[in-house]
């Protein structure tokens, strides 16, 4: 009897404490953002999370919960559902694939949770805002820069990412658009699967086949770095190297070290996602789709943070 009384008392005290806490929380409204990242195995996605973390750190009222789906669509589905049942104030998702994640995202949206979709899209229109970059535009910017740099003619090696992936296809076709109408000739093209050792291998083949190469365009910076190492080992000078992505510890570092001649940023959109989230919390309307521009980094501007391209 006595024990029951004390446990009741304890229960009342706990409930009171709980109320007290919620009162405090109400005074300084804080927001919880759930971030579902599809694969933290990619450095670029690690950077995306870092950008989100850095942007959110400026706003103490924001709390971001990160989840890594480890490149597994079903895992990411489950994560979205967990965020919905945890009633986060906003969901940011960088989906692995469009089709299987469209429905979970739509359900979150219909449950009243604003959803920002980053980098890769979902189908339909049941989300609040899509933020992403355009690989075709970046490839085209690279192509135009290369055409200008080479004076409209030259022999180029193209080291492609993965031609079965959309970014690979877009960086390829955009580049071809960019050099269209010039006398630039792509003398060797190969798939290096985004991997540095493979890029070095393919570049060695190109070097043993062609005595004259003006420039290497690689679909990512590690690829361009691998090509540079191959050319250097073969004692071949006078080749320019151009990459894409411009991560601080990769492409930008390579340009600073004089390894790459140019790199084009593929923006993560992390900072923009937090900006958009704040606007949503303030009740402002945000555009349905935000397309991010790229930035060019070369020897002349790398120290000053690159040059924005439209």
């Amino acid at each position: 009897m006595r024990a029951t009384f004390f446990s009741l008392l304890a229960g009342v005290a706990l409930v009171a404490a709980g109320f007290g806490q919620s009162n405090v929380a109400a005074q300084t409204r804080s927001y919880t953002i759930g971030m579902s990242q599809c694969n933290l195995g990619e450095p670029w996605r690690v950077q995306m999370n870092a950008d989100i973390r850095a942007a959110a750190a400026q706003h103490p009222e924001l709390k971001v919960v990160f989840n890594d789906a480890q490149n597994d669509t079903l895992k990411q589905r489950a994560q979205v559902e967990e965020f919905v049942s945890a009633k986060v104030d906003l969901l940011i998702i960088s989906p692995k694939e469009a089709q299987p994640l469209t429905e979970p995202v739509a359900r979150a949206f219909e449950a009243g949770i604003p959803v920002i979709v980053l980098d890769r899209a979902v189908l339909g229109d049941k989300f609040t805002c899509f933020i992403g970059a355009d690989n075709k535009k970046i490839g085209k910017a690279a192509g135009q820069w290369i055409a200008q740099k080479l004076g409209g003619k030259g022999k180029v090696v193209e080291l492609k990412g993965l031609m079965t992936s959309i970014p690979g296809q877009d960086r390829h076709s955009g580049f071809r658009d960019g050099i269209a109408g010039t006398d630039i000739e792509v003398i060797f093209e190969a798939d290096m699967k985004w991997l540095e050792p493979d890029a070095r291998k393919e570049m060695e083949s190109a070097l043993s086949r062609f005595d004259h190469i003006d420039l290497v365009y690689a679909h990512n910076d590690p690829g361009a770095h691998g090509a540079y190492l191959a050319a250097k080992a073969a004692g071949r000078d006078g080749i320019l190297f151009v990459g894409i992505d411009a991560l601080p510890q990769e492409g930008i570092a390579y340009v600073r070290q004089g390894i790459l001649d140019a790199t084009f940023r593929y923006p993560t959109g992390g900072a923009e996602a937090i900006d958009t989230a704040l606007k949503i919390f303030k009740g402002e309307t945000v555009p349905k789709k935000i397309v991010l521009g790229t930035r060019l980094f070369d020897k002349s501007n790398v120290a000053t943070g690159g040059q924005a391209l439209p």
Binding site: L40, G41, P43, V46, L162, M163, T164, F188, E189, A190, D191, K193, E196, P197, R200, K201, E202, E204, S205, L207, S208, R209, P222, G226, L229, A233, A234, G235, P248, Q249, E250, I252, A253, R256, Q257
Partner: protein, 330 residues
């Protein structure tokens, strides 16, 4: 030489593995990509590219001969590469500390796999699969998920750039007037060591005996557990050497390095004619297998064959080579 001697030479696994290599080389001579196949540099590059896989194949041969399999070697490449880059680039350790420390990490992980499979009697496939996941995790943990490169992040988020360590430069160097890569020399040393162990040492005999019939080996007094643990430890050691070479050639430690390498290493061993059932095979055969796959890869590359075609052709050729090996035995 008369016909029957040719026939008996071809009936041996070595003869068949050699035939496969000759066929691939002949294909290279035909599809020579405007003469690129006949340049010395092409062969030097082929050997360099095959070397890292070849080192893994050396350790893999020891394990496969004992009737096991080691799926962890690809992840151990990444772990060793990250450790090497951390120690050499970030901590500025001299080479005589980096190399033993790196090799110790690999050997230790191999010993754990061996202990789990030999003493705790977990199937090699499962034991080394666990180590494959574990080592990949350790590599990501140690590197923070980023490549460990010469761009070192300061406490305030800015980057400073350090020199590529002398150890990395020495490994990614060439000897013999630029005609032989140092990594290839390291690979050949690995081949020699594995050959000595397998063909000239009692331990090698034990591995063949265990792979042939583990129970019979135990009954005849072979120290089964110890010999098996040593095989996995050696495989881990060779994987660490490969990881060190990988880091030196990339000038960085990539936690994603080496994924899928274990399968290439297994294919190289099997194409050579070493039986996955254990008890049969050898390092000489593996060397032939390494060269076959290495040259196949190079020929597809100099001809700039699209990725889809490469995968299909490689798959077909591996099956064809293994089928020839099997017919050689019956």
């Amino acid at each position: 030489m008369n016909f029957s001697r040719w026939k008996s030479a071809l009936a041996s696994p070595a003869g068949r593995a050699f035939l496969a290599l000759l066929l691939v080389l002949a294909a290279g001579a035909i599809f020579n990509a405007d003469g690129a196949f006949f340049k010395i540099g092409t062969h030097r590059d082929t050997l360099r590219q095959a070397s890292v896989y070849g080192m893994l194949a050396c350790g893999m041969t020891l394990v496969i001969v004992s009737g096991g399999i080691d799926l962890a070697v690809g992840s151990l490449v990444a772990l060793a590469a990250v450790c090497a880059a951390k120690m050499a680039i970030h901590w500025n350790w001299p080479w005589w500390q980096v190399v033993p420390a790196c090799l110790a990490v690999g050997a230790l992980c191999g010993t754990v796999s061996g202990w789990v499979t030999a003493s705790l009697r977990v199937q090699p496939f499962i034991a080394t699969l666990s180590m494959m996941v574990l080592a990949r995790g350790l590599a990501k943990y140690a590197s923070g998920g980023m490549k460990v490169s010469t761009a070192v992040q300061n406490a305030d988020g800015t980057y400073r750039y350090v020199e590529v360590p002398a150890l990395f430069r020495a490994i990614d160097h060439r000897v013999l007037a630029g005609n032989l890569s140092v990594v290839t020399v390291i690979f050949l040393v690995c081949v020699a060591l594995a050959w000595l162990a397998l063909s000239r040492h009692r331990w090698g005999r034990y591995l063949y005996a265990i792979g042939g019939n583990e129970e019979a080996a135990r009954l005849s007094g072979v120290p089964v557990v110890g010999a098996k643990i040593c095989a996995y430890a050696a495989s881990g050691l060779f994987a660490a050497v490969a990881g060190l070479c990988q880091a030196a050639q990339e000038q960085q430690g990539d936690p994603e390095a080496g994924s899928g390498y274990e399968l290439t290493a297994i294919a190289m061993v099997v194409i050579g004619g070493t039986s996955l059932m254990g008890g049969r095979g050898g390092i000489g055969l593996t060397l032939l297998g390494v060269l076959t796959i290495g040259y196949l890869d190079k020929i597809l590359s100099i001809n700039a064959v699209p990725e889809a075609g490469r995968l299909v052709l490689t798959g077909i050729i591996i099956v064809a080579a293994v089928l020839t090996q099997r017919r050689g035995r019956t």
